[in-house]
Symmetry: C2
Subunit: 254 residues, 2 copies
Amino acid sequence: MKRPLILVSNDDGVQAKGLNELIHMLKPLGDVIAMAPSEPRSGAACSLTVSLPVKYGLVHNEDGLLVFKCSGTPVDCVKLALDSVLDTRPDIIISGINHGDNSAVNVHYSGTMGVALEGCMKGIPSIGFSLCNHNPDADFTPASPYVRRITEEVLQRGLPAGVCLNVNFPDTPFYKGIRICRQTKGVWKREWMKRSHPNGGDYYWLTGEFVEHDEEEDSDHWALNHDYVAITPTLIDMTAYGMMEEMKHWNLEL
Amino acid sequence: MKRPLILVSNDDGVQAKGLNELIHMLKPLGDVIAMAPSEPRSGAACSLTVSLPVKYGLVHNEDGLLVFKCSGTPVDCVKLALDSVLDTRPDIIISGINHGDNSAVNVHYSGTMGVALEGCMKGIPSIGFSLCNHNPDADFTPASPYVRRITEEVLQRGLPAGVCLNVNFPDTPFYKGIRICRQTKGVWKREWMKRSHPNGGDYYWLTGEFVEHDEEEDSDHWALNHDYVAITPTLIDMTAYGMMEEMKHWNLEL
């Protein structure tokens, strides 16, 4: 049987421990090609490089593993790998493992999930993996058997068109198991820290505190807060279908 | 009755014609405060400025209108305006008018829709307006009465929690009316143009061609292709609810 072709990317950049650990976890499952941003790109979401040219280059080549760095965003990495680097279509696209969680509304800001959403838009089964720990030297060991199990299962079953997976690992050495979740409702508050330059002028650092509006057992935060791996199946179709019929009765025509 | 407070932003930057036309369209409806990126930020999606400080400054101040420029992304603009600039919460957040369409899967890449999604995440009724014309001097006149009508209706009715509007105008001087739509299915193909530097080395420009998989009458592309204004109600909850039950039967536990 032909070995699966696995395309890997992330948003923490080609040097990140999470990417390199992920590659080692996936190597037993197939041929791995990674194309990751040359610099960290946290918070890149699905952003694109529109006004600058994008370049890529090979940084690592060994039997069954190629690693490229790319000057673009995480989504650019996927687009460029599919369009201009790979001869064959990958069987799966895996992103991460992100240093930091991408649960709840953070799916919208996440470059890790940008990779998975882009893969999904291209019709390829795609998974974003994230660990709830921002430390550059975080321990990804407990995630390893779950990364393999989830990836194997998706390789075997595929995913429905338009659905990718957002997988978040709690920051704990032992997981109680897996929960299939929905995106937690909540809101970021107090998002900026003001600082003053010694020569005058204020500037702001993005920070913030996430306030949950939601403590139900099917939410991804509940799972993570209770030491479960949270898998949130995620749609690329963002249409509010429930609103369409109602809006037809609005007074919108001139 | 108190005049509504309208927060405006975009992704084409504070100098863009589309932003300035939008401000003039909205001024009769309320007090307008704009906070827009100092430079064009097309394709910014919901990206955040994580590793650099963010600054803003006032560029225009007249009766009932304040315009600020901000060094950050479109989403940063909304976050900073809400957190650090405005004394009161805006009644509505309006983004655009974008030079170029944000229909179909482009909602994921769009900084214009990043603004609307961020506003929606903050619980404020939010609308992104886009015109299917990339020309910096595009004619926004035909959109004007529709921008006002849609904004007035949202000011009066509000929007359900977690729903914002993605409004796209066709590139034609006369609109046939409004259609309430869903996101068109389709895929970007042939996305990169390769160029060579005279001193050696290849680089790539992002381009591409959108291939529709979908010609049904409720899609936003059908509306735009038939000279209708397309309003796509859009969710911030991306959970694939239909997939949750199925995945509970997967073989995921170790």
